[in-house]
């Protein structure tokens, strides 16, 4: 559904530009344009995903192209939730460009049955789409942790040094980003736990074994452990601040390794 995705990209780009301008200029009218664009883009994107599913005949989360598109869609939903729950509009100035890039790459890539292994057979049990979907959701949650942690660190540094930059007044408060990071980390951990479990179940029904020792699996478990640590660390006090935020930033590097694990190091996993 490339034409539809192009429209989606246009909406996201427009939203990205307006979010950034709203961040810099603090204009409510700009923010409203951004939010309307996001809503329009999200609806079109949902339609595109459903159309893909109907036309291609498999759950639209298998090839790299589909994965990126689905990830972008999830991030938009996540931003929507953040806007609704925390009124943290500054998040848009950071997320929307990422979402636009993801969508753009998804359009550029012409991966499909010829370039990559066929999608046939994998969808035989319902474990597979659940496994992939949960992981995409988890990736989005970890991205939110990363972003909130960066916002925390930037502001904490300025508060400690007592030098406030122009961004200082535009970012959400420390307690907001702290709470956001904690919530998103807990969510990401839950999602990835079930994601790993369904992956194992799927693998055991298809190949008869739970574990393949491939890089993506190893990274996934490392990621899972790190966020488990982060959650334990955070919940052992009322507030964790800088160290927890650093963990959220470093952890994201591991998340990226997990995401690109197969690309870099091979293995039987494909995207998703």
């Amino acid at each position: 559904m490339r034409p539809l995705l192009l429209a989606v990209l246009a909406a996201y780009l427009n939203a990205a530009i307006h979010s950034i301008l709203a961040f810099v200029n603090k204009r409510r009218s700009l923010q409203r344009v951004a939010e309307l664009s996001i809503a329009a883009g999200f609806i079109l994107h949902t339609a595109a995903l459903i159309a893909d599913w109907a036309i291609d005949g498999h759950y639209p989360l298998f090839y790299l192209r589909e994965t990126l598109s689905f990830l972008a869609w999830t991030l938009v939903a996540a931003y929507g939730l953040i806007l609704y729950r925390y009124r943290a509009q500054a998040v848009g100035a950071f997320t929307m460009p990422v979402i636009s890039v993801l969508t753009f790459i998804a359009i550029l890539i012409r991966s499909g049955p010829n370039g990559e292994p066929a999608a046939t057979g994998v969808g035989a049990t319902w474990f597979f789409p659940i496994h992939t979907t949960l992981w995409i959701f988890a990736y989005a949650a970890f991205f939110v942790v990363f972003m909130a942690s960066v916002m925390y660190l930037l502001q904490e540094r300025e508060l400690k040094l007592k030098i406030f930059s122009a961004n200082f007044h535009r970012l959400p408060s420390l307690s907001t980003v702290n709470e956001l990071a904690t919530t998103a980390a807990a969510l990401g951990l839950t999602l990835s736990t079930v994601g790993i479990a369904t992956g194992m179940l799927w693998s055991s029904t298809r190949y008869g074994r739970f574990w393949h020792n491939d890089p993506k699996e190893i990274f996934a478990v490392l990621t899972w452990l790190l966020y488990l640590l982060l959650i334990i660390y955070r919940s052992s006090a009322r507030w964790r601040g800088r160290r927890a935020a650093w963990l959220g930033v470093v952890g994201f590097a591991l998340v990226l390794c997990t995401f690109f694990g197969t690309r870099l190091l091979g293995g039987y996993h494909v995207f998703g």
């Binding site: 409510r28 009218s29 400690k160 030098i163 122009a166 420390l174 307690s175 009322r238 507030w239």
Partner: protein
């Protein structure tokens, strides 16, 4: 009709001059009734604050110069100052410049502290006094309402009023930055000085839940506690209560550190790492600067606050540049709406049209009249013109009256009857 503004402000006149000139509310309404004569000066309004005294009028354009002179004389005489005493302090603006000036004043771009919120209220008050005095008419009504819109637009679209520019307000700003909202948070005052009181007032207005006050003399503490519905705590039990405080404002005249590092370590542990914001406005300092090295503890001393404030002021000034652009475009918009309001051209066009009709008829029938002396010709011309004017007079009057009460339907109907194009 022209808009004329004459006045002094903190940039052109020292306080000795401004205080001589200041108008009380009573003096303002009385002065306006005297100034507005319905002939040259049609409408008037006086803005009098501690930083400015300005007279804003709608003046007949033909008598602009005389009008400006009248206002200057009015300012001199109203306060019994010798003639010409004010001349080197006064500025006067007309039309675009006057509109622009008023927009800037009301939006607090012309204030000593850019973005301060009081001036808009003062302009609002000045307007209601003018309404009371019956000296606010069509032009000023429109101008003042437009001014309120501009001020509101600038306040919401730019950050000229965004960041704290006073020490006492910094506590609110820092508290919000750390805790997002001050609702339900606890603030502790160590020392009950004037500065602490001012900060506490801002914090309470921002919704702080509990106010704890520790002071060496309990009487002062109790006074503040009564004022803010707070609780006094014994000064020597500070350590016990400190863990409950989210924002701590320290302003005692103690010569040593009241909040030490070991104490803060204990506080942090008790708070299970929840951040604390310490604001130390005392000199010598009451909070050990080493406290600031502890994680999740933020300490600001008076110098830190001053430097943040000066950067906030610079930020406001940057925002003010954007506000100036808004003022610019709003002045143009106001000019347009004022032009649409002007009935003059319509009346001129109608009169000319009728006169042309009369002249054309005269030309058509001229040869039937035979030869006439030049006196006779002039007499006929005069007869025609006075007939036309007599007939059109009530129409034009009706048009003016309808326009005066903004009855544009009638004005349009009259235009249609006489076939006037836009």
């Amino acid at each position: 009709m022209s808009i004329v503004l004459v006045g002094v402000n903190h940039k052109t006149a020292p306080v000795e001059v401004r205080e001589l000139l200041a108008f009380s509310e009573k003096a303002s309404t009385e002065g306006l009734r005297g100034l507005v004569d319905g002939e040259i000066i049609r409408e008037g309004l006086i803005v009098s604050t501690c930083n400015r005294v300005e007279v804003l009028t709608a003046t007949t354009t033909e008598q602009l110069h005389l009008g400006t002179q009248r206002i200057t004389e009015f300012l001199d005489s109203a306060r019994g100052l010798p003639t010409g005493f004010l001349s080197k302090h006064l500025y006067s603006h007309t039309d675009d410049q006057a509109v622009r000036h008023l927009f800037r004043v009301a939006s607090s771009l012309d204030s000593m502290v850019v973005g301060e919120p009081q001036v808009l209220g003062q302009v609002r008050r000045a307007y209601s006094l003018a309404v009371e005095a019956g000296t606010a008419g069509r032009v000023l009504n429109r101008l003042v309402h437009h001014t309120f819109r501009v001020a509101k637009r600038i306040r919401t679209e730019t950050g000229i009023a965004a960041n704290a520019v006073s020490i006492s307000y910094m506590a609110v700003e820092l508290g919000k930055k750390i805790f997002n909202s001050l609702k339900g948070q606890t603030v502790m005052l160590i020392g009950a000085g004037e500065m602490a009181e001012l900060s506490a007032r801002h914090l309470v207005n921002a919704g702080v839940g509990r106010v704890l006050i520790a002071n060496r003399t309990e009487e002062a503490a109790r006074r503040l506690a009564n004022e803010f519905g707070g609780e006094t705590i014994p000064f020597d039990q500070l350590a016990e209560f400190l863990p409950e405080a989210d924002v701590v404002i320290c302003s005692t005249d103690a010569p040593n550190y009241v909040v030490t590092e070991p104490l803060t370590r204990h506080v942090r542990e008790k708070r299970r790492n929840k951040p604390t914001c310490f604001i130390d406005i005392s000199v010598p300092r009451n909070i050990d600067p080493a406290v600031g090295n502890l994680p999740n503890v933020f300490v600001f001393d008076i110098d830190d606050l001053e430097s943040v404030i000066s950067s906030n002021i610079r930020e406001r000034e940057r925002e003010a540049e954007r506000a100036e652009l808004i003022v610019q475009s709003e002045v143009m918009q106001f000019q347009q709406s004022l032009r649409a309001m002007d009935i003059g051209p319509t009346i001129g066009a109608l009169r000319q049209k009728l006169q042309e009709l009369a002249r054309a008829e005269m030309d058509r029938h001229r040869n039937r009249l035979g030869s006439l002396t030049s006196e006779q010709e002039t007499a006929i011309e005069a007869l025609l013109m006075s007939t036309v004017n007599k007939i059109s007079h009530p129409v034009l009057n009706q048009m003016r009256r309808s326009h005066e009460i903004s009855d544009s339907d009638t004005v349009q109907a009259l235009r249609d009857i006489f076939g006037l194009e836009e």
